[in-house]
């Protein structure tokens, strides 16, 4: 880690003359820290405060201890939302991971015209989720969507029902959209990782005449594991908080079939104005995220030497 110690940067003379040198880095981070306390810590603390109070319709009432949490844990909708998110993350992310890794290996195996392909592959990832939602509505919604009509409706596979209105299929349709949007990102991130691997071990393996599979499992995979873990974890965190595309495509429905914790918190707040309980949910989700976040940080820092 490259760190300039105090002595290296500040000429000793200056340091002795004034104590200002020690404060320099704190001065530099002060505006950022103040802003973040304001826009991140204050809302968080306020959410904790709300979660311990009776709060409905924007009026904050009495302190009620853990009542909101108790109510939340007794709410089948809460457990349903965890199930939805669990399924979503548990199915979509591994598929994105496999497509990503496979694609990265293919890209790395001498695909031509990568300078044109790579930017194109970024497009789904960088698109606004709202536009992604509308795009897939055009493709899959109703019996009129381009794909749902031509591939499903025409062959009588779907009847008149929209995929997004089907209690059984809606969640899988959302996974499909997520996979469409994020597989290319995984691919390009893994590809960047592959490109950065040292060539030495591969030369040695070539001299030994090792098979492609053997090279992959004995050289590529072990070297890639921290990177795979970090990117997988990052995607996991992002997939868990998915909101926009669900909001646009199904609104959490039909019923509660696609109601992820984010959508549930949204509905509790802005449809039922159940602010106390929604805050309790927010605090729990936040706490869980903090744990994931920490794991991401530790792996990236220690194994990838990234931070």
């Amino acid at each position: 880690m490259s760190v300039i110690t105090e002595t290296a940067v500040a000429p000793a003379r200056e340091r002795r003359r004034s104590g200002r040198g020690v404060w320099y880095p704190y001065l530099l981070i002060a505006p950022t820290m103040i802003t973040l306390v304001l826009v991140s810590l204050v809302p968080f603390v306020y959410a904790i405060y709300l979660s311990f109070h009776k709060a409905k319709y924007g009026r904050v009432g009495d302190f009620i201890g853990f009542d909101n949490y108790a109510k939340l844990l007794a709410d089948p909708q809460f457990w349903n939302s965890l199930k939805v998110a669990g399924l979503f993350v548990g199915i979509a992310v591994p598929i994105e991971f496999m497509i990503g890794l496979g694609g990265a290996l293919i890209l790395n195996a001498g695909v031509r015209g990568r300078s044109v392909l790579v930017p194109l592959l970024f497009i789904p990832t960088m698109m606004a989720p709202v536009v992604v939602g509308l795009l897939w509505k055009i493709m899959l919604a109703g019996s009129w969507g381009l794909i749902s009509y031509n591939l499903l409706e025409r062959f009588g596979w779907l009847g008149d029902q929209s995929i997004f209105a089907s209690p059984d299929l809606a969640l899988y349709a959302l996974m499909f959209v997520d996979i469409w949007q994020w597989s290319p990102f995984m691919m390009l991130a893994f590809f960047a990782g592959l490109q950065a691997l040292p060539l030495g071990p591969y030369r040695a393996a070539a001299v030994d005449g090792a098979s492609t599979l053997r090279v992959f499992f004995k050289i590529t995979l072990p070297m890639m594991i921290p990177l795979l873990a970090v990117i997988g974890l990052l995607r996991l965190i992002d997939a868990f908080k998915v909101f926009d595309t669900i909001f646009i495509l199904t609104g959490g429905g039909p019923g509660v079939a696609t109601q992820s914790p984010s959508v549930l918190a949204y509905k509790m707040t802005f449809e039922f104005w159940n602010i106390g309980e929604a805050s309790a949910l927010a605090v729990l989700v936040w706490a869980a995220f903090f744990v994931f976040c920490n794991v991401f940080y530790q792996i990236a820092k220690k194994k990838l030497n990234a931070f």
Partner: protein, 272 residues
């Protein structure tokens, strides 16, 4: 010879994948100039006489104003992020501080927290202090994810700079602000631009904050799209126009920034 064949095979696979992947986007692009009556014709019409009617409606509905709102909001919030965040990123990369790891984790947590958890307290606080549906309020709210993102990623760019230059400047007797402005800043310019442009895109694409904390007077482009869902049904041609317009900055970015996108989206964990 054999290597050539495999390369050709994989190139074909990759090109096919890209085509399938981007087909929906291309289809949406054709919908921009599609007349309403063939939009979802059965069977699907692939040939049609192009029309500009969709553009007329979008302009008449005042979408230019939404476009301008989005642009100004994203620009202002990004510029603020750069001004506030650049010194912090540098400090985190170069200096030892007490509790640095904890502070840094706090920044990461600000970035990672689900927006929906933030929007609840924001909404209530903003209502109280009169920031709801104001430019200042949304700018502030965007700081939560963009400032933390910016500091986190730019720090990784800072760490790539050779320390020796700064040490040499220090030995010359330059003051620290001088070292930052005259040595660090010029070297860091590319990293700053790349990270800032990603911040701009995140703000550009953002929906939930813009929807709940703005929405009426301050109406960004993504939030304005539901205006096209009318009592007579969804105006899909117009949705396509707005969607593709919203996509244009993204296209510019993927073309210009490709090397840096991976680094940005992995929060600096992977160098593109």
């Amino acid at each position: 010879m054999n290597a050539n064949k495999t390369s050709l095979l994989w190139t074909t696979v990759a090109v096919l994948y890209a085509l399938v992947l981007l087909f929906p986007v291309l289809w949406m692009a054709t919908m921009m100039v599609k007349p309403a009556d063939v939009m979802f014709a059965r069977p699907t019409e692939f040939l049609f006489t192009p029309t500009l009617a969709n553009f007329d409606y979008v302009i008449a509905e005042g979408f230019a104003w939404n476009l301008l709102t989005s642009f100004v909001l994203c620009t202002v919030s990004t510029v603020l992020v750069v001004l506030i965040g650049t010194p912090a990123a540098y400090a985190f990369a170069r200096f030892e501080m007490k509790g640095k790891d904890d502070l840094f984790l706090f920044i990461l947590a600000s970035r990672m927290g689900p927006p929906v958890c933030l929007v609840i307290p924001f909404y209530l606080i903003f209502t109280k202090v009169g920031l709801l549906d104001t430019f200042a309020g949304l700018t502030l709210a965007y700081m939560t994810f963009n400032l933390s993102f910016y500091v986190w990623v730019l720090r990784s760019f800072c760490r790539d700079l050779p320390v020796e230059l700064e040490e040499a400047a220090a030995l010359e007797g330059w003051s620290r602000p001088q070292i930052f402005m005259r040595v660090v800043f010029p070297l860091l310019r590319n990293g700053i631009v790349a990270t800032a442009v990603l911040c701009f895109i995140f703000a550009w694409n953002e929906f939930l904050f813009a929807f709940m904390l703005g929405g009426d007077r301050i109406q960004t482009l993504p939030v304005a799209i539901p205006k096209l869902i009318t009592a007579q049904g969804v105006r899909w041609g117009e949705v396509a126009v707005v969607g593709i317009v919203a996509l244009l900055p993204v296209l510019a970015v993927v073309l210009l920034l490709q090397r840096h996108i991976v680094r940005g989206l992995t929060l600096g964990a992977v160098k593109g």
